[in-house]
Subunit: 395 residues, 2 copies
């Protein structure tokens, strides 16, 4: 008398979580220094000093009540005002506190927005390779997930394939740039083409097709990469955001959905997503974390450590003969398995306690993902194993 | 092209939240000291010193990474071990860390457990008066909500009515003792009768009927009231808990569901509820808050302030002629409207900036709820208004 589908969802860990759990257990067996865990996107750089100081300052407040009290479900007006002001500054547009709804991270924000868009037969598109948890979020919010095959050349968008996937049931497409797992950042050209296509299709089917822009890696870009503000290019864009990566607070569950004024039917969508959050058990985002964001909305991260990791791992792997598009953002390398499937290669690597994520769940079973948010030292120590593994390639 | 049901859920605030919002706005107009807000269950006593110190100590840690990192979805093993040890001590039973799943408060814990129990035609019972948010939690987790009419005498359980509500589709009954809104604490006699009935009905229908015990007020009891450990009386009991009330951390979103080993099919239920949490967007409970609980699992609250409020408000109101069962726990008074419906009475009180919650949404439209987790001073200053209002009673 237990819901079987939920049992399956709970019993079967995501491959990433499984590897992460395995890594913890294995560390107890062979020693932490002998496990090379590239599985999870757990930031490896301490939180910015301003963030740490904000936590300290708030916790030192003499009166604990205002720190820990309930806020409005959408978040305190002060915290939302700080976020809105930061977004206004960054985008050069008017952003009001009531465009923002603070959530316990990006995951529940995505679930809420997707549930708000669910209709009979509604479909939401994702572009391969995609963050594996999109599938449960989309399917259990009452939508069908449609996978747009990858652009295997540059991990931008395969437009002929995308066009084939759009029909009258298409409610939204998830855009994730900088991308997990590839590190690709969508160019202005890509976004313009996407905008043009979605505008034409929205017109053809007589209803807006929304972009749901999942942007947890927005500030983590390297070299001269630039992350465009998508609503400027395509107005019907909803933004889901998390402070997990930028402030190294992944466990603290603070993020938001942001529905700009330019979004068609935006106010109704905001309320519908609020309602969806409510029925999923949302009460408010953690209040202390809200106050930290209120203080730190304008703080910028130091990404030099990730950048160094990215360069050293990318250079070493490509030097050994691995194929990989150089990531422009986020903190992953998406690497072609040098032989066999990525699953087979990942299983082989596991024998040497090297934990990399096969791309099956991302919709690209030929590739594996390696996080670069790990210690530089671990990367250096892992290189001989990467080298040995590719040298095992059968002739 | 927006989901209409979700829109309705988001657009229509709960009456409590609406009053709370109104109170904030009205305070800006007439001055904070002239608003008597008895609407919301926001603890008015600072967090225990040990809790505040734990926050301070953790935020002062030199290495911020271990504090703010992802944990397992169910929570860190250390935090769950501390919770389990506390529960073991309190209950005299074996409790393992893997019986516990840490959540962002009781609301998502309830949603997860209810979704795990949802089947075609499944029904979950609540006993009037009940916490109003049970309805969205039950209905949107895929169950039908069935309301058991109240025991208007003592706010225990109306067993003849309960028996009528149980059928082959009954999956669970929600028990909330100490009760919101009445403050009633279920006696051993009540729980024994409940156990006997549920055992017979489980046998009759050939499947367990679970108790979902929602216990956020477990430690908030007065005089000689005692909160029984329900699994000792009825093994098929799942416990949902929140630290919101006991540690005055309602905004911080930390709680759990706990499925003891004695629960039939308990492990499957645990995984199913984990899966339900996942598809609702749960990643982990806030990691800093997990660590606070790890340190403070055994800390006891000081409830003397609530007790003083309870006594002074109860004594004054009954002295003026209001009818009210003296609450044994939680922090509310549930009072019969002296004339008209409670909605009418609450609307009238609002004109004097006295904010009380009509019982309609609790399933008892003749009663209103007044929180006692407010300042003693505000209670004293509000008494003349309560007195005036009952004196307006039409002959």
């Amino acid at each position: 008398m237990i819901n079987e589908t939920m049992y399956q969802m709970g019993n079967k860990l995501s491959v990433i979580r499984e590897l992460f759990s395995y890594g913890l257990k294995q560390a107890a067996v062979v020693g932490k220094e002998n496990v090379f865990d590239f599985s999870i996107g757990n930031p490896s750089v301490p939180s910015p000093k301003a963030v740490t100081e904000a936590f300290q300052k708030l916790c030192a407040e003499e009166d604990s009540l205002p720190i820990h009290s309930y806020t409005l479900a959408r978040g305190s007006v002060e915290a939302r005002a700080a976020v809105a002001a930061n977004l206004a500054m960054r985008t050069g547009t008017l952003v009001r506190p009531d465009n923002i709804f603070l959530t316990c991270g990006a995951a529940p924000a995505l679930c809420a927005v997707m549930k708000a868009l669910s209709l009979e037969d509604s479909e939401i598109l994702v572009i391969a390779p995609y963050f594996a948890e999109y599938r449960p979020f989309i399917e259990f919010s009452g939508n069908k997930m449609v996978v747009v095959p990858a652009d295997m050349e540059n991990f931008q968008i395969n437009f002929p394939e995308l066009e084939k996937c759009i029909n009258e049931h298409t409610q939204a497409i998830v855009v994730n740039s900088p991308n997990n797992p590839t590190g690709a950042v969508y160019s202005y050209e890509t976004l313009s083409k996407l905008s043009k296509l979605l505008k034409a299709k929205s017109k053809e089917y007589g209803h807006p097709i929304y972009i749901i822009s999942d942007e947890p890696y927005r500030e983590l870009v390297y070299d001269d990469a630039y992350v465009h503000y998508i609503p400027d290019i395509y107005p019907n864009t909803i933004i889901c955001y998390s402070y997990s990566k930028v402030f190294s607070l992944p466990g603290e569950r603070i993020g938001y959905f942001f529905i700009p004024d330019c979004v068609e039917d935006g106010e109704r969508l905001y309320y519908a997503a609020s309602g969806a959050a409510r029925v999923n058990g949302h009460v408010c985002a953690p209040s202390l974390q809200q106050k930290v964001i209120q203080i730190c909305a304008d703080v910028k991260p130091d990404i030099s450590v990730y950048d160094r990791n990215r360069v050293v791992l990318y250079d070493a792997l490509t030097n050994y003969g691995y194929q990989c598009v150089k990531p422009q953002g986020a903190f992953y390398l998406f690497v072609k398995a040098p032989y066999g499937t990525a699953k087979e290669f990942s299983d082989r690597a596991k024998l040497d306690n090297l934990l990399i994520v096969p791309g099956d769940e991302f919709g690209c079973p030929e590739y594996f993902r390696a996080s670069i948010c790990v210690s530089y030292d671990m990367i250096i120590r892992s290189l001989p194993i990467f080298k040995k593994l590719i040298e095992e390639k059968p002739e």
